[in-house]
């Protein structure tokens, strides 16, 4: 039992474990009761960046801020908001950095056009190595 108490006190003291002493929001680590809504929330959470982490989505981070954002997303989904609205709200607040799905704009146009452009260039290059079929 002393060992347990020791381990517990060590855990409580660990800074990485708990960023603050406040308990996590209820929906940070628990799911919505409605599986359809939860799936919707989950699909959105994997595309949102945890702003204080080393490149993790809020759906798979232990950081307290990720937990808060998960709670926020679940609450808003439960209140009937659409994922796109929530994303827009977060982008308005934190900038494009928060979404892993960069919105189409003048700056991101090259990024989104790249796959098609690459295929076109590739086809043009590949044409040279084919022989014309004789008729």
């Amino acid at each position: 039992m002393r060992r347990a108490a020791l381990a517990l006190s060590l855990l409580a003291a660990a800074p990485a474990f708990a960023d603050s002493t406040l308990p996590a929001a209820p929906l940070a680590n628990t799911q919505l009761p409605d599986p359809v809504l939860e799936a919707k929330a989950q699909a959105l959470m994997v595309t949102l960046r945890c702003l204080v982490c080393q490149g993790q989505s809020i759906a798979d981070s232990d950081a307290e801020m990720a937990g808060d954002m998960r709670a926020l997303v679940r609450q808003r989904i439960q209140a009937g908001e659409q994922p796109a609205q929530i994303r827009d709200w977060l982008v308005a607040r934190y900038g494009d950095y928060v979404t892993y799905d960069p919105p189409f704009s003048l700056l991101t146009a090259p990024l989104w056009i790249a796959p098609l452009a690459l295929i076109a260039i590739g086809l043009w290059l590949a044409r040279a190595c084919f022989r014309r079929r004789r008729r």
């Binding site: 381990a7 517990l8 800074p15 996590a24 680590n29 490149g55 993790q56 798979d60 892993y100 084919f130």
Partner: protein, 653 residues
């Protein structure tokens, strides 16, 4: 003394690398000026390059051995050991900790590079002497840059005065058996590609781009590709169980850094086959070798510089990143310049019909290059945007949308390719050969649409295509004498089947995973997929250099024997960190994945539970791909040896 011996070995190796470059440069010049020159000076110059390359590799290995020795002895007077090790660490992590840091990992890089150069010098017998010498010269030039980097910017053997009483410890996330295998495997892959690159440079310098060069390069491409495959597969599984959220691929910059060389190497592997068998795609193959090496350099740069934030990054150092960036620009720029000046001398290889084995391999190369381009642009785009003062993130949604459809198209080409004849084939013949795989695809699609409710489009197509590809990949063995089928054909079949297996795993995981996140009380039954999981209790555990809280979970499904799972939350003191150790139970049809989270004041325990059907297929498929590569490699080497014996026998007759 051990550290000083290591440093001396490193300096000597660097000096030999410099000598190797000079000897090779003069020798190749003389041979190219007068190809029949058999004078004593020329032969001596050329003859000296091989032994120098071998000794250089041995000295680099000696330096690495010395570094491992100071880590094993916990010699805290060495700065690197003091900063990254701790005397109470288990020996495996002292050993592997030698490369769990920036300097050590770079030393491992050049060690493998040096050993690979030595291996080329010992084993390569079929290439023309000018090409081989130029290859070894190029290899030494690459090594020289990295020796300079180690000696001037990141000396692993620097001492610290006074020596601290003990070290600062290793990042606990790295304290895992994975560290012992994952980085060396990936580095062997990266460095193997540098050998392919050196062959390409050698062939360009000696104006010798043809089937002989392709056959000499192929085992190295295959070998490094096998290691890259293993490294990525193992790394993915390591991240899967270590990060504790059930994800196995995050499209993270560091993952992309290992994926890009793999994509380039895969393309190279297929184009080098066209060059070796049909003498086609000459310039393209050389270009791909340059691209593949560039990708492994960019990968090293991205990982080592920390320019992009990554969940897997460790021991990054931005100031040294600029040194690697300079090397990167120098090598890639130099190679591209050489390519541009010499590509005119590379004659156009054989051409072929669009509907042919070559045509399918060109499509393979095209699609792999597009995926590579998408991954590269997506990975670097945040840096470019930051240059315009905009902070943005490019992540899984982009890569899934942009690379996913191309990858699925590639799967279709992959199913058809091995069923096509070389040079020329017909659409009608292909359609009849694709009938059975096509039926497998259609059955899979219909079954999923009927029974798998709400499966998203990409996983749906992924599963159906995996079924079709699995059938198509074994089709080349149909009606063949299996004992007489060459080993490299078996290799192709197994590797392609591995891709089908892996694809099925990825799609199944994404389509059917069940997740349960709860704050649980002891004794309360929890449902995840087909399992009922009960928390029996929490108890403390003491490990060699950590203490932990351990949950005791019992998972039941129907009448099957109960599974006991013990996920832990580990607390490390050196340095102070908490990690979640997931507990995973593997069954034939999937994995139960459990993680212990926080305990809230009311005594409820945070648990994360997943049921992941067929997730293990992802890594099983990866292992099959690597096995296929190994079969191909042995098949090729055996055939080459037999051919050489035959030539020798004829020479004697």
């Amino acid at each position: 003394m051990i550290a000083e011996a290591g440093l001396a070995a490193l300096w000597l190796a660097a000096a030999l690398a410099a000598m190797q470059v000079v000897l090779a440069a003069i020798g190749v010049r003389r041979v190219l000026a007068a190809p029949d020159d058999e004078s004593a000076l020329t032969t001596d110059l050329i003859g000296a390059v091989r032994p120098v390359a071998i000794v250089q590799g041995a000295l680099a290995a000696l330096a690495m051995a010395m570094l491992i020795a100071v880590f094993l002895r916990s010699d805290m007077s060495v700065l690197l050991v003091a900063e990254n090790s701790h005397s109470e660490k288990p020996w495996l992590y002292k050993f592997a900790g030698a490369w769990g840091n920036h300097e050590g990992s770079m030393l491992l890089w050049v060690t493998i590079l040096g050993l690979a150069g030595g291996a080329v010098a010992i084993f390569e017998r079929s290439l023309a002497r000018a090409t081989l010498t130029a290859t070894l010269g190029a290899q030494a030039l690459i090594a020289l840059g990295f020796y300079a980097f180690l000696l001037f910017a990141s000396n692993p053997f620097a001492r610290i005065e006074p020596a601290p009483a003990d070290g600062q410890g290793l990042n606990p996330l790295l304290q895992d058996p994975g560290l012992a295998f994952h980085p060396p495997t990936l580095y062997i892959g990266y460095v193997g590609i540098s050998v392919a690159f050196s062959f390409a440079v050698g062939a360009l310098v000696a104006r010798d781009v043809g089937p002989a060069f392709a056959r000499a390069m192929r085992p190295w491409v295959l070998g490094s590709w096998i290691f890259l495959t293993l490294g990525i597969t193992a790394g993915s599984y390591w991240a899967y169980y270590e990060l504790g959220w059930g994800g196995w691929w995050f499209w993270d910059p560091v993952e992309n850094a290992s994926l890009m060389p793999w994509l380039a190497a895969t393309a190279l592997l297929h184009s080098v086959t066209v060059l070796a068998t049909r003498d086609g795609l000459r310039a393209w193959t050389v270009m791909l070798a340059v691209v593949a090496f560039s990708m492994s350099m960019i990968g090293t740069f991205l990982v080592r510089s920390g320019i992009l934030t990554s969940v897997h990054a460790f021991a990054v150092d931005p100031t040294r990143g600029s040194f690697i960036l300079a090397l990167l620009v120098l090598y890639i720029g130099g190679a591209l310049a050489l390519f541009a000046t010499r590509v005119g001398t590379v004659r156009v290889g054989n051409t072929f019909d669009p509907v042919s084995r070559e045509g399918a391999l060109v499509a393979n190369n095209l699609l792999l290059s597009v995926i590579l381009g998408v991954v590269l642009i997506g990975t670097l785009y945040p840096i470019i945007a930051a240059g315009f003062g905009v902070q943005l993130s490019v992540g899984p949604p982009f890569f899934d949308k942009a690379a996913g459809p191309v990858a699925l198209l590639l799967v279709v080409v992959m199913a058809a390719g091995p069923l096509l004849r070389w040079r020329r084939d017909g659409w009608r013949a292909l359609t009849s050969r694709m009938a059975v795989p096509g039926a497998a695809f259609a059955i899979g699609l219909v079954a999923l649409l009927a029974f798998g409710r709400g499966v998203a489009l990409l996983p749906l197509l992924g599963l159906a295509l995996a079924a079709g590809l699995a059938v198509a990949s074994v089709a080349p063995l149909w009606r063949r004498n299996l004992l007489r089928t060459p080993l490299f054909t078996w290799g192709m079949v197994v590797a392609h089947l591995g891709i089908a297996v892996s694809l099925a795993g990825m799609a199944a995981e994404s389509a059917f995973t069940k997740q349960t996140l709860v704050a649980a009380r002891v004794g309360e039954p929890l449902q995840v997929g087909p399992y009922t999981v009960t928390l029996k209790g929490i108890s403390p555990v003491i490990g060699p250099n950590w203490s932990a809280l351990e949950a005791h979970l019992v998972a039941r499904r129907g009448d099957a024997p109960a599974i006991v799972l013990r996920p832990q939350s580990r607390f490390f003191t050196n340095p102070v960190t908490v990690t979640s150790e997931s507990a995973i139970a593997t069954r034939w049809d999937g994995q139960v994945y459990t993680v212990l989270g926080q305990i809230d004041p009311s005594g409820r325990v945070q648990l994360r539970l997943w049921w992941k059907p067929f997730v293990t297929l992802i890594w099983l498929g990866g292992a099959l791909v690597a096995l296929g590569g190994a079969l191909s490699l042995f098949g090729r080497l055996l055939r080459e040896r037999r051919a050489r014996r035959r030539v020798e026998a004829e020479a004697w007759a």
